[in-house]
């Protein structure tokens, strides 16, 4: 039996019942391993930004008559791990799990995690056993991206568990390339390969996948060095030389994950675009990259350049004089800001030293920065409740703009201001809102991408955030492993990995 042991950065085993928590790492390891969604991310290449491809749906299209009705053709011949057949009934059952509070399978926890992906859905109709229609509340051209996050779990298994998810948890069942084997709470989740996976190309090349939560970077490094695990996420930059010495493979690739400051733009000082620009000009991003031993790249906006909506945005290259001048012009000196940062957290990289560097660079041009470190979960709270509920001018909150919904629409459109969603800093731009509406109603991918690109360029021109770096998401692999392709995505496909004995 070949075993792949992975050290995750998560503090605990993510939920594996189909609504992963612990951030996108949960999706990565307890989501796309056990489950599939209607659409899936194409993680087979490290050259281009990952996009969605058919998953449990073989194809989808917008109803030509009704731009609020998506037709999904479901994949035939797929069964869940427990033998339960995948079909339209199962799909509808799965939507009701989160959408219908009266359904026996309704799960409040799942709503918390997955509800956001189905907010646009008005209803789901069964057209035939392998065809469903999903009616959205408004035209939503980007809907398939949302469907790439919504996992389908075995309705038979939940029913057999008497709709008690705590019972279901003992034997969860999806359609994914791995089957659940066992769990030791807080310690390890063990999955075994699904020989009968519908996509033969993705049948795991190893027999067993063991997932271990190890939030401490140094612990992960020690575990890899002492041969307790084969694959660690996010080794700390300073351990990389040592890992290399020990023959470990260090893999990095750019992917849509920005490490930046969200700015509160409805109050001083960041309501003044000159102050925002000054901050951006003050960043010596290369310094940061150096400090991180090259596991990050400089960011000039929230997206990475391989994403289709990158466009040709304004660039804020390091120019401290200009920054100082802008600040003076804005009449903000010293420009006092208070920034909420976390001490650790999923995707936050090394928040303490990095923030201190930012602080130093900002202060060099005339800002006066007060860093307020807090626990990661506390910061999530600050993020969710919106800038107006706190006294921060900015927060250091990394996000993964993997798709235009999360990366552009929900970030900048006025309607997504808190408490609705994630426009933390109350950014508002009528023209951008308008473009957004058009994009959602535009079902031609090329035209839609053009609209989205324009939106993105607009937000960057407004210096709506303080862009700092993109994480290269380093991973360290034991020399025993081969075949891993690191996709430009938050999600990764572990199935091709071969473990040499």
């Amino acid at each position: 039996e070949s075993v792949l042991r992975v050290a995750m950065t998560a503090a605990d085993i993510p939920d594996y019942t189909g609504a992963p928590d612990q951030g996108y790492e949960g999706y990565r390891f307890a989501g796309y391993t056990l489950y599939d969604a209607l659409a899936l991310w194409d993680l087979s290449s490290s050259d281009k930004a990952a996009d969605v491809v058919p998953g449990l749906a073989t194809s989808w299209e917008i109803d030509p008559q009704n731009n609020k009705r998506w037709i999904f053709n479901l994949r035939q011949g797929v069964t869940y791990h427990d033998g339960c057949p995948w079909n339209a009934d199962s799909a509808i059952w799965n939507f009701n799990r989160v959408m219908d509070p009266k359904a026996p399978q309704f799960n409040a926890r799942h709503v918390g995690q997955m509800g956001t992906y189905v907010v646009n859905i008005a209803s789901v109709d069964k057209l035939d056993d392998y065809k469903i229609a999903i009616n959205t509340k408004a035209p939503s051209s980007l809907f398939p991206y949302e469907m790439a996050m919504y996992y389908m779990i075995s309705n038979c298994a939940v029913t057999a568990a008497g709709n008690d998810y705590n019972v279901y948890m003992k034997k969860p069942s999806g359609t994914g390339p791995y089957k659940f084997d066992s769990v030791v709470p807080h310690e390890r989740l063990e999955l075994v390969k699904n020989d009968k996976y519908w996509n033969p190309a993705r049948i795991p090349k190893h027999d067993r996948l063991v997932l271990l939560p190890m939030p401490e970077a140094s612990t992960r490094a020690a575990a890899l060095l002492s041969g307790q695990v084969d694959f660690v996420e996010a080794p700390s930059p300073d351990t990389i030389p040592r890992l290399k010495d020990a023959g470990m493979q260090i893999i990095t690739v750019p992917y849509p994950h920005n490490w930046d400051y969200m700015l509160r733009v409805d109050t001083p000082p960041f309501n003044d675009i000159r102050v925002r620009q000054a901050a951006n000009y003050a960043m010596n991003r290369q310094d940061m990259v150096d400090m991180l031993q090259g596991v990050a790249v400089a960011a000039d906006q929230t997206l990475i350049d391989s994403q289709p909506w990158y466009g040709h945005p304004v660039k804020y290259d390091y120019d401290p004089d200009k920054a100082a001048a802008l600040l003076k012009e804005a009449n903000c000196s010293p420009c006092k800001i208070k920034v909420g940062i976390s001490t650790s957290g999923s995707g936050q990289m090394q928040p303490l030293p990095m923030n201190e560097l930012v602080k130093e660079q900002l202060e060099a041009v005339g800002f006066q920065v007060q860093l307020e470190p807090m626990d990661w979960n506390a910061l999530i709270g600050v993020f969710l409740s919106g800038a107006a509920k706190s006294d921060f001018n900015a927060i250091n909150f990394s996000m993964a703009p993997i798709d235009p919904v999360q990366g552009i629409l929900k970030k900048w459109m006025t309607e997504y201001q808190p408490p609705a969603c994630c426009n933390w800093g109350f950014y508002s731009n009528a023209k951008l809102d308008d473009l957004g509406k058009q994009a959602l109603a535009e079902f031609d991918p090329a035209k839609r991408n053009a609209l989205l690109t324009e939106m993105n360029e607009m937000a960057v021109a407004d210096a709506s955030e303080l862009y700092i770096v993109h994480d290269l998401n380093p991973r360290a692999l034991s020399p025993k492993l081969s075949g891993f392709v690191q996709a430009q995505s938050w999600f990764q496909d572990l199935t091709p990995i071969v473990v040499a004995p």
Partner: protein
């Protein structure tokens, strides 16, 4: 006649008084300490540490918060960095000096606060006995039901980080044991005849407490409190290490240890410095309190 008697009785002491020089209690303590070279050395060490912490702004060669990416993780003795630099290129020596301030503060302030508060409660409980004692000591028992680390972690987990919160946490944790020591010492003193003698003069309770009880309770309590300094330092650094203590970028030994943990493969020695600092300080305090206990223990 009577005078003659009085005089005759007074004869001997003048000639054969055992000690020519009058020596106070503390004088006696000092006499014993004088030969205890280990303790003396440790006292000197502590004085050195305290002084270097107090004068950190003048002693530190660099700004402890000034980072320099060009000079990350330099080894000990690299150019002007006597103790190397940390993961942000900040001078370790400077940070160590400044960190000493926080660590000593964490070691000393909570102990002082707890000594005052716990000592007060303990003395009151011990002196008044009965119901007051019941009330105070049972409450303390409840806090005693939590092992100190657990209590510290739980409280600081609840209060959140920051210097003030951490000091508060440690104070709360240290109060019950001090209270207990004070209570025991007080009830011992309370049963001594000299307290009864004082009561027989019609003195008020406050007067007795201050003139007779406190002065005697003080030394056991102080000796005990001195053992807590090192415990407090270690606890504080543990909390910082867990991320429950002082918040970054404050230079604090525990926190430095925690952040430098990532760099242990690059600069093992530099990463070990804060740990060594904690260890040495804690050993010094422990040995001093041992020495003090021995010097103060000798029965009068």
């Amino acid at each position: 006649m009577t005078d003659a008697v009085a005089n005759s009785l007074a004869v001997a002491p003048s000639q054969s008084a055992p000690t020519a020089r009058v020596r106070s209690y503390w004088g006696g303590v000092w006499q014993r300490l004088r030969y205890d070279y280990v303790t003396l050395f440790c006292i000197a060490l502590i004085i050195l540490i305290v002084l270097s912490a107090v004068f950190a702004p003048w002693l530190a060669p660099f700004d402890p918060y000034k980072s320099s990416m060009a000079n990350r993780l330099r080894p000990i003795g690299y150019k002007q960095f006597l103790l190397g630099t940390d993961e942000q290129g900040r001078d370790m020596l400077s940070r160590l000096l400044y960190g000493g301030r926080v660590s000593l503060l964490m070691g000393i302030v909570p102990v002082i606060l707890a000594t005052v508060i716990g000592g007060l409660f303990g003395v009151v409980a011990g002196y008044y006995g009965r119901k007051v004692n019941m009330g105070i000591m049972r409450t303390m028992d409840i806090f005693f039901a939590f092992p100190s680390v657990l209590l510290a972690v739980a409280i600081s987990g609840s209060l959140g980080g920051g210097i003030t919160n951490q000091m508060l946490t440690l104070t709360v944790v240290l109060i019950p044991p001090i209270c207990r020591v004070a209570e025991t010492a007080t009830s011992q003193v309370r049963n001594m005849d000299f307290v009864d003698a004082a009561r027989a003069t019609g003195a008020s309770t406050t007067s007795i407490l201050f003139t007779h009880v406190l002065i005697n309770v003080m030394s056991p309590v102080l000796v005990y409190a001195s053992t807590l300094v090192s415990i407090s330092i270690i606890l504080a650094s543990g909390l910082s290490f867990l991320g429950l203590g002082v918040s970054p970028p404050t230079a604090d030994w525990g926190l430095m240890l925690s952040t430098l943990r990532q760099s242990i493969y690059v600069q093992p020695l530099v990463s070990a410095i804060p740990g060594v600092a904690i260890l040495v300080t804690s050993i010094a305090f422990n040995l001093v309190s041992d020495g003090l206990r021995q010097a103060m223990d000798v029965k009068a």
